[in-house]
Structure formats: C-alpha cells, structure tokens
C-alpha cells in the first residue's frame, strides 16, 4: 500500500533519514518506535509527503507520489546525469497527484491541529465538501454519524478551543475518517495529552484497528504497540534497524541499540 524506497532527508545539514526502506501492506498495523531524533516522525511524514525526501521515492498503491529519483530507475539517467525528458515521461505515466493521494491517507498529529476558526462539525465537513467528494448534506450526515460513534454528538457546534485534549484528538481522528481514507498515519497521537486522556484516544484507535483499517503509528506507548501491532519497526540513525512481529520484537530483540532502548523504556 505504501512503499518507502531508499529515502534520504537532511534538515539543516543534520541527516535524519539515511536510505530508509519500508513497506506497508493493506490491512496491516505497523508501529514505528525509536529514540527521539531518530527520524521516525520524519519517516511517517514522508509517507504522505508532508516532508519531501531529498532522495528516494514514495509509492502509494503502486503509484509514485514523490518526485522521481532517477538513480532508482534504468533509463532515467544519461551519462550519469538525470535525463529530464525521460523523467518527465516517466512522471506522466506513473505519478499520482499528491493532493489526490492524500485524500486516501488520513493523518493524525501530535498537536491535533483542529481548525480553530471552524466548529467541530465544520472541521469534519470542510475537506469532503471542498474536494467535492460529498454534498453538504452527505458530509453533515457522515460527520454526525462519526460524532455519535465517539459519543461527542453534543459538541458538533462548539469551537475546538472549548474541548479537552482527548476530545480534540478523537475529533482529529474522525476528521481524517470522514474522508474514508485507505490508510491512517498517526504521528505520536497521545504524546501531547494529559495521562488520563490517553486511554480514550487509544481505545478509538483500537476500534479502528479492529475494523481492519491500515494504520501506521509512531508512538511511545509500548503496551499499545504490543497489543495492536502486526509489525513493529525500530528506527534509529535514519534507518530501520529491526522489524518484527510484536512478541518477537519485545521479547527477543536482536539489534544492540534496540536492546538498549527497550531496557530504558520498558
């Protein structure tokens, strides 16, 4: 479903991703963990191109969504230099517009990022209506249905500033769901929450997982990772150091950095 191929990213001369590869299969729940500054958030944000890789490519459902990296293809370089025309032709045939791709990729942020100038209902309806995926009535019905599902139907007409962190994050999640995405990306969804509100957000995420949603989750909640993940990735120094199903990952880690990391956090 999502393919990350040999991605490099440098921020202010600080290498963050160093040739990272990973593949997310449909229906899979992948949890990404790693020390802070390891590049796990950047990896996630590359998947929907919120961050554009310096090198390497991102694919969504087999379609290229990032710029072409000519070094990954035969016939796109000439004498070792990028062949502009060949690249343009290749993009024409294989590249998917990023705005279209993002309609299928919901994203949930650490700081919720609900639209402050809109009510809860308007937050949920904005994108489906603006992008002409639904009529206003359809979007409203969908929004109300989602709000009822998380028990916040009474908050439809309030502004985000009146909500608690847990409520904001759950609404941010259903705002992404209102687009009927194929995959959901979670960027540390519980890190900015008060401890007592973490549970309600994780419960909603579990519900999503049970419904069979494809999910990629960057988190520090190890218990949650163990419970929900089909596969856990350990990202460190800009590469995937280890990946395994959760039982094996947590009980029998092999990479020395991972052993060290788990000792500290568990």
């Amino acid at each position: 479903m999502i393919d990350v191929k040999n991605v490099y990213k440098t921020f202010e001369e600080q290498p963050i991703l160093c040739g990272i590869n990973c593949h997310i299969r449909p229906g899979e729940r992948v949890v990404i963990i790693g020390p802070s500054g390891s590049g796990k958030s950047t990896l996630l944000r590359c998947m929907n191109l919120m961050v554009t890789p310096d090198r390497g490519e991102i694919y969504m459902d087999g379609k290229l969504i990032s710029p072409v990296d000519p070094t990954l293809h035969n016939g796109l370089t000439r004498n070792g230099k990028p062949d502009r025309r060949a690249i343009r032709n290749y993009e024409k045939d294989n590249r998917l517009d990023i705005n279209l791709a993002r309609q299928d990729m919901g994203m949930v942020f650490q700081h919720f990022n609900l639209f402050n100038n809109l009510t809860v209902l308007e937050n949920l309806m904005l994108a489906p209506v603006q992008l002409k995926l639904m009529t206003k009535e359809e979007a409203r019905a969908k929004a109300v249905e989602l709000l009822e599902r998380i028990g916040l139907a009474d908050k439809a007409d309030v502004y985000p500033s009146t909500l608690s962190g847990g409520q904001k994050q759950r609404i941010a999640i259903i705002r992404a769901l209102a687009m009927n995405p194929k995959v959901m990306l979670f960027d540390e969804p519980t890190s900015a929450l008060d401890p007592e509100m973490v549970g309600e957000v994780l419960d909603l995420m579990k519900e999503l997982a049970d419904d069979g949603m494809t999910m990629v989750i960057v988190t520090h909640e190890m218990g949650f990772a163990r419970e929900i993940a089909d596969r856990v990735l350990f990202v460190c120094d800009g590469v995937v150091k280890e990946e395994a199903p959760p039982e094996e990952f947590f009980s029998n880690p092999k990479d020395p950095r991972l052993v060290q990391f788990l000792q500290k956090v568990l």
Partner: protein, 231 residues
C-alpha cells in the same frame, strides 16, 4: 454678526450643510472602499510573499510584491494621487469619475500597508493548521482561503483598525484632485466667510467623532471574531 452667527448663516441659511454632507459621504466612501480594495490587494500580496519560493513563477510574484510595496510605501499619498489623476489615467486614456479615481488610489496605497500586516497575520497562524489542511488533500489555495486567512485576519483586526483610521484621516488630501471631501467642504465655508476658527474646529471634531466611531466598531468586530476563542 459674531463668528458663530456667520458660521450658522453659512451652514443653515445658505445651505452649507448640504456640502458638508456630500463631503462626509465622499470621505466615508473613499475610506471604506479604499480599505476593502486594500484588503483584497493586501491579502493577495501577502500570499504571494509567503508562498514557498520553489519555482520561477513564485520568485517573480515575490519580487513584484517587493516592488509594489516599496513604491507605494516609499512615496507620499498626495504624490500618488496626483500621479494617478494627472499622469497615469490620462496616459491610459481612462476617463472615470474622480471619486472612483480617489478610491482606487487609496485602495492601491492601502494594499501595500495591508500586505505587510497580513503577512504578519499569516505567519502568526500555527503551521499545524496548514499541515492539517494539506494532509486532508486540500491544495495550497483552499487551505489558505478556508483555514489560514480567516485566522490571520482575526489576529490582525486591531492592526487593520489602525490602518483604517490612518486611511480615513489621510483622505483629507483628496481635494488635491478636486474631490470635495469633508475637509474641502469646511475649507470652502471658511474661505467664503473669512472666518477660520469655527469651521476648522468643527472639522477637527468631525474627524475625532468619526475615528471614535470606527474605534467602537473595530472593538465590536474583535469581540465577535473572538467567539471561537471563548472557553
């Protein structure tokens, strides 16, 4: 007759108040529509300036904005008014009412100032708002229009109010291109009676009342816009 009687006679018996009302109307029209035009131009320029400069088009837009702001902030309003009325419009062969000319001139001028105000306003909106919009699949323009600009405008209402007050007072120079505004109408009374004290004090009071009224309106707008901040 004392000065009061002279003024009263000119105002009421000789129907000078009609001129004053026309002048008041012109002042209001120029200030309000000038600001509206300034807002539109200012928002466009601010976005041109803030858009990520990754292609030659966006670089060009940014450069054009810089030149625009430099020209309109770097020359006096009166000079711009005179240039537009006596040089630019005649050269273009345009014949439009002088009031419209004045509104355009003040709108263009105000756009330069508003663009800098709006730029600050846009930068004051959390980057997460843009990210959330883009992540949902909205394009840059939709995100700006529906999410960022409404919040930016709310943040800069007090500063925009300041700009409007400055604009309102600066309209007093439009008589340079023969538009009769509130200043000109009272000047006419003063000149025809050779009694200057009362007309000019009244003129000052009228501006003061106008500005106080505008201040009140801005406060009201601020309070309404803050509805989404209330806990």
């Amino acid at each position: 007759m004392n000065a009061w009687q002279i003024f009263y006679r000119q105002l009421v018996e000789l129907e000078g108040y009609k001129n004053i009302l026309v002048g008041l109307q012109n002042t209001a029209l120029i200030a309000v529509f000038g600001l509206l035009i300034g807002l539109v131009i200012g928002c466009l320029l601010a976005v041109c300036k803030i858009i990520p400069r990754n292609g030659w088009i966006t670089k060009l837009l940014s450069a054009v904005t810089d030149v625009y702001v430099a020209v309109f902030r770097g020359t006096p309003m009166v000079v711009q008014l005179l240039l537009i009325h006596y040089v630019i419009f005649p050269a273009l062969g345009l014949h439009i009412p002088i009031l419209t000319e004045a509104i355009l001139a003040f709108g263009l001028n105000s756009g330069a100032y508003v663009s800098e105000i709006m730029r600050g306003g846009i930068l004051s909106v959390d980057a997460g708002q843009t990210e959330a919009g883009r992540a949902l699949g909205l394009n840059y323009g939709q995100t700006m229009l529906k999410i960022v600009l409404p919040q930016a405008i709310k943040n800069v209402v007090p500063t925009l109010g300041n700009e409007f007050i400055a604009l309102l007072k600066e309209t007093s120079v439009v008589s340079f291109i023969t538009v009769v505004d509130i200043t000109k109408s009272l000047q006419n009374i003063a000149n025809s009676t050779y009694e200057y004290i009362i007309p000019y004090i009244v003129l000052a009071l009228i501006y003061l009342v106008l500005v106080l009224a505008v201040t009140g309106i801005i406060k009201l707008i601020e309070r309404r816009l803050r509805a989404s901040d209330r806990r």
